[in-house]
C-alpha cells in the first residue's frame, strides 16, 4: 500500500490556507483586502501572515500612501510550489478516503 502524504502544517491552518488561496489568484493584495475577504481580525490576520512570511511563502512590501501605512502582500514562488504540493497531497488523501 503506498504511503499517504503529510499535509504541510504551515499551510493547513484554515486562515493561512485561505490567505494563500486568495493570493494565488492575484498579483498582489493589500492587508485591508485580505482582512475583508477572510473576515479576520487585524491581530489574527497579522500573526498568520507573519507565519507565512517566515516560511517564505509570502513577501510583504510596506509603504506610505497619502501618509497612511499600507502593507502589500504577494505570493512567492516557494509559496506557489508549496500550495501546489498541498493540493496534490490533499487530493491523494481524499482519493485514498473514497
Amino acid at each position: 500500500m503506498p504511503e499517504l502524504p503529510e499535509l504541510n502544517p504551515v499551510i493547513h491552518g484554515k486562515l493561512r490556507l485561505a490567505l494563500l488561496s486568495l493570493l494565488a489568484g492575484v498579483e498582489e493584495a493589500e492587508f485591508t483586502w485580505l482582512r475583508a475577504k477572510t473576515g479576520s481580525t487585524d491581530g489574527n490576520l497579522g500573526a498568520q501572515l507573519m507565519k507565512l512570511e517566515e516560511a517564505g511563502y509570502v513577501a510583504v512590501e510596506k509603504k506610505f500612501v497619502q501618509r497612511k501605512p499600507q502593507s502589500i502582500y504577494r505570493m512567492t514562488e516557494a509559496g506557489r510550489e508549496a500550495l501546489q504540493e498541498y493540493v496534490q497531497a490533499l487530493k491523494q488523501l481524499l482519493g485514498a478516503a473514497i
Binding site: 484554515k14 492575484v26 483586502w33 487530493k91 478516503a97
Partner: protein, 199 residues
C-alpha cells in the same frame, strides 16, 4: 478524529481553497453598481435631451457619470487587488468610455450627428463590443447575451424609424445596464456570504 470527520475536514479545506481562489479572480461582479449607475445616467441624458432639447445634456451627464464612478471607486474600503484579467476588463471599459465621449462630442459639436438614429446605432454597437470583449475575457455567457441585445438595438436603429430605435435603445439600457447590473450585485453579495461562511 474518525475517518469520516477527517475526510469532511479535508473536503472543507478543498472547498475553502476553491472559494478563495475564485474570490481573488472575481472582478466584474463587483462592478455591478457602475452598470446601474451608467444605466441611470443614460436614461437621465436621454430624457433631458429629448424633453428639454438641451444640446449639452449628453456630455454633461456622461462627465457627471465619470466623476461619480471615480468617487465610488475612491471611496471603497480597500483597493481591489491587481490581476491581469482585472486590468484587461478595466482597459476595455475605460477605452470604450473615452472613445464614445470623444467621438460623440466631436460629432455633435461638428454638426455631423445628423439624426439620433446614428447615435443610437453607434453607441449600441460600441457598448455591445465592450460587453462582448469582457464576456470573452471572463468566459461569462450572461454578459455575451447583453452584447447581443446591444447589437440588436444597433440593427434596429439602422432599419426602423426613430421611435422604434429610441425604444430599442431604452430597452437595451434597461436590460443590459440596470437589470444586468442588479444581477451582478446580487451575485456579489451571494458570493460574499458564501466566503464569509467558509472563512
Amino acid at each position: 478524529m474518525n475517518a469520516n470527520a477527517e475526510e469532511m475536514d479535508l473536503r472543507e479545506r478543498l472547498d475553502l481553497m476553491q472559494k478563495m481562489i475564485a474570490e481573488g479572480r472575481r472582478k466584474q461582479e463587483s462592478w455591478g453598481w457602475t452598470f446601474v449607475l451608467w444605466g441611470i445616467a443614460y436614461y437621465v441624458a436621454f430624457f433631458w435631451d429629448w424633453l428639454a432639447s438641451f444640446p449639452l445634456a449628453w456630455p454633461i451627464t456622461m462627465a457627471a457619470g465619470g466623476v461619480l464612478t471615480f468617487i465610488g471607486f475612491s471611496r471603497r474600503k480597500y483597493r481591489a487587488p491587481e490581476t491581469t484579467i482585472g486590468r484587461a476588463i478595466a482597459s476595455i471599459w475605460i477605452a470604450t468610455g473615452v472613445s464614445m465621449f470623444i467621438l460623440f462630442d466631436a460629432m455633435g459639436f461638428g454638426m455631423h450627428m445628423g439624426e439620433a438614429r446614428v447615435f443610437f446605432a453607434a453607441a449600441s454597437a460600441m457598448i455591445g463590443l465592450a460587453n462582448a470583449a469582457c464576456s470573452l475575457t471572463l468566459k461569462w455567457k450572461a454578459e455575451f447575451l447583453c452584447a447581443i441585445v446591444w447589437w440588436a438595438a444597433a440593427i434596429v436603429a439602422c432599419f426602423c424609424n426613430l421611435v422604434t430605435a429610441g425604444v430599442a435603445f431604452l430597452a437595451a439600457i434597461f436590460i443590459c445596464q440596470i437589470v444586468f447590473g442588479a444581477y451582478m450585485m446580487v451575485l456579489e453579495s451571494r458570493q460574499r456570504r458564501q466566503v464569509a461562511r467558509h472563512a
